[in-house]
């Protein structure tokens, strides 16, 4: 404790001196670390050579930020001798959770149902609400994907890093079928001129699900004997293979250029157009392109609910319980006479089917598909939603999807950081959203290591249903 940095406090080691010393040391380390990373910057001036600019001020800002933060932490949370809250008592977070949880489900569904209305009222009109309803659709897609992957990862315990492959299969299946000229001609000949353009989504939706499920089985077969890390690698490769095939099989998929002019969604055969037989005219409304967007929102809510309800039903059926048992112990499953091969394949197929539905929805929403949309980062995002939400928990996954996708989107809007007294007008907050997002994930994993919703309801029960706590079970096992 004889550091010159700590000044007077050095002779008699006080908590403040120690904290100050630590703060200064961390500040210096931060500065040195940031010096090469942030301090030097090569900028392109016009078409000329790169010029080196220095940003020592910014480095110093970061260093001071870290130093002050550590000082504050040392004097408060990390203070030596601070009484730690007794382990036995539930955390305030848990108490809040216990208070909210009975209301959470109805509140969530009510919010999901009335969200477009709220958006329209708050923003003051159909057109200005477009951004928010689009965001709702975007989040809804991820809720659905999360719930779909939850079957494979959360229930059956099969770590699937290539889930986006099934999403891609669904999207491309719909894109190819709905833009296919022979099918269109055949349908026009038999069922009316515009039949295929109007009904293609509703006809193709189950087809896409079935196709994706088939691909789920195709992936499932070779990986039946793999678990954990090995399974993750193979599924990761599978996801990439699908994407590369989509890029390179130009004759069939139009390669990297993608497939455009996919017919838009119809209200069960009634198009969302300004024409006399359009949706607005039929229902006596004035035409607004937002009608289609709001309808899309309700379609994704319905599809998500379908996923959730199907999962709930399946969990109570023998196959669903076999999935959960499989996640716990494969050998024990076999010793009880459960066919683990069939169980794994049904898990893959069911999860893939919902991925396929979501893919078809993606294609009809964006009306353009290209391999760009189905990269590994999508799989990683969906998996992160499932893990953050608490594996196997439906509400947790939904909450995580809202938090992650909505939060990422909100981080685009950090333009206040651009003000002069903060980071300057050159600062681009969208570039930092992944960083902030990463911090948020680390924070959740530190404080809620088993995900946002870690308990699970017993799927079968005697007399009364009891919540099974996640406490007292090892991390990653509860």
């Amino acid at each position: 404790m004889s550091s010159p940095l700590a000044g007077d406090g050095a002779a008699r080691p006080s908590p403040f001196a120690a904290a100050l010393k630590d703060a200064v040391v961390s500040g210096v380390i931060t500065f040195l670390l940031f010096l090469p990373l942030v301090g030097f910057r090569a900028t392109e001036s016009g078409s000329g050579p790169l010029t080196l600019t220095y940003r020592f001020g910014l480095c110093a800002t970061f260093a001071i930020l870290v130093a002050v933060l550590r000082l504050v932490l040392h004097l408060t949370i990390w203070r030596p001798g601070r009484q730690k809250a007794a382990r036995g008592t539930p955390s305030p977070l848990a108490a809040v959770g216990g208070f909210i949880s009975p209301m959470a489900k109805p509140a969530f569904f009510a919010l999901a149902l009335f969200y477009p209305l709220i958006a329209i009222v708050v923003t003051g009109g159909l057109t200005p609400s477009r951004y928010w309803i689009d965001l709702g659709i975007y989040i809804g897609s991820y809720v659905m994907l999360g719930w779909g992957l939850n079957i494979v990862v959360g229930l059956a315990g099969l770590l699937d890093l290539g889930y986006v492959a099934f999403y891609a299969v669904g999207a491309y299946a719909f894109a190819l079928l709905s833009t296919s000229v022979p099918i269109n001609d055949w349908m026009a000949g038999h069922l009316g001129e515009n039949f295929w353009a109007l009904w293609s989504f509703w006809v193709c939706l189950p087809v896409c699900g079935i196709l994706a499920a088939m691909w789920g089985v195709i992936l499932g077969f070779p990986v039946l004997r793999l678990r954990g890390d090995y399974l993750a690698i193979v599924t990761l490769a599978f996801g990439e293979i699908i994407r590369l095939v989509l890029i390179n099989w130009t004759d069939f998929t139009n390669g990297g250029a993608g497939i455009a002019s996919i017919p838009p969604i119809s209200f069960f055969g009634i198009p969302f157009t300004a024409a006399d037989d359009g949706f607005a005219a039929r229902f006596g409304l004035t035409f607004d392109p937002m009608h289609r967007i709001i309808f899309l929102y309700f379609v994704i809510v319905a599809l998500s609910l379908l996923t959730a309800l199907a999962t709930l039903r399946l969990r109570r059926m023998p196959v669903g319980r076999a999935w959960e048992a499989l996640r716990e112990d494969e050998i024990a499953c076999r010793s009880l006479g459960i066919n683990t091969t069939l169980t794994k394949l049904t898990a893959f197929a069911t999860g893939a089917m919902f991925g396929g539905f979501a893919g078809a929805f993606f294609a009809v929403r964006v009306r353009f598909v290209s391999p760009e949309s189905f990269t590994f980062i999508e799989s990683a995002m969906i998996l992160a939603i499932v893990v953050l939400g608490g594996m196997g928990s439906q509400m947790g996954v939904a909450a995580a999807a809202v938090f992650m996708i909505g939060g990422m989107e909100m981080l685009r809007n950090l333009s206040f950081l651009k003000s002069d007294w903060l980071l300057g007008p050159d600062f681009d907050p969208t570039l930092y959203r992944m960083l902030i997002f990463g911090f948020a994930m680390v924070a959740v994993m530190v404080w809620r290591p088993r995900g946002l919703v870690s308990g699970r309801l017993a799927t079968i029960f005697l007399k009364e249903r009891k919540k099974v706590s996640g406490d007292l079970v090892k991390e990653g096992h509860g």
Binding site: P318, R321, A322, E324, A325, R327, E328, D329, I331, A332, C333, R334, S335, L336, G337, I338, N339, T340, R456, A458, T459, I460, F461, L462, K466, V468, S469, L472, V473, K474, H477, G478
Partner: protein, 239 residues
């Protein structure tokens, strides 16, 4: 009388390494038969070979007159054979109730309630713990759960792999008493693999001693307990 389970000349390999070098074991209906031996003798391998994973490369396993040597594991386990695997392998995140229910899942839960009551009389502790996660039980309770879960399949032959592993002597006694009860009252046939030779041989009608993948001795439990070789190899050190 033909045996309920007969293992004849079974050779099992892990890759190229031979684990069982031609084993013959018979279990008759209504018997408790134990297989004792040191670590790595191949006891558990024999147990798993009966269940079809790994498979016997030579020899045959016949249950109730049916050759089950090459059946898939899950089909073997549907033939009224139940196994409480080594290391218990209960479903840690599922409740005790769900664990028991998984045992009854294959035959469609038709006797579930009756069987549940039977398990509660056999292991009253399970009733107290019914809604707890399997992973939160003590070792002894987990073992009881593993046995109860196996019994929920209504087996005629129960295969037990080291039920005394890592348990306190008092708990071992409870579990062995329960096995004896089941055998006496319900005529359940039990094939028990154990390291705890003294208790196992006292419980069993007959026993086999396995050394390095070969059965070296067999006889009634009492006979084996008195054999000097058995005493020297497995019973020294007091109980």
């Amino acid at each position: 009388m033909t045996a309920m389970l007969s293992v004849t000349g079974v050779k099992t390999y892990y890759g190229n390494i031979v684990a069982l070098k031609g084993v013959d074991v018979e279990v008759n209906e209504g018997e408790i038969v134990t297989l004792i031996g040191a670590n790595g003798a191949g006891k558990s391998t024999l147990m798993m070979t009966i269940c079809g994973s790994p498979r016997a490369r030579e020899g045959s396993v016949v249950f109730n007159g049916r050759d089950i040597t090459n059946l898939p594991t899950h089909e073997i386990m549907r033939l009224k054979i139940a196994q409480s695997p080594e290391g218990r392998r209960i479903f840690g995140r599922m409740t005790v109730y769900e664990n028991l229910q998984m045992g009854a899942a294959v035959d469609g839960n038709t006797h579930f309630q009756d069987d549940l009551e039977r398990m509660f009389t056999l292991f009253p502790r399970l009733k107290e713990r019914l809604h707890q996660r399997g992973g939160t039980l003590s070792g002894g309770e987990q073992q009881m759960l593993a046995i109860a879960r196996a019994l929920m399949t209504r087996p005629r032959l129960l295969l037990l792999d080291e039920p005394s592993l890592g348990l306190a002597p008092l708990v071992v006694k409870q579990i062995f008493d329960a096995i004896r009860d089941l055998n006496r009252t319900e005529g359940l046939t039990v094939f028990l693999v154990e390291q705890n030779a003294y208790h196992a041989l006292k419980l069993a009608h007959r026993g086999y001693v396995m050394v390095n993948g070969v059965v070296t001795m067999s006889g009634t439990g009492k006979e084996l307990l008195e054999r000097p070789e058995v005493k020297a190899a497995y019973l020294e050190g007091g109980h």
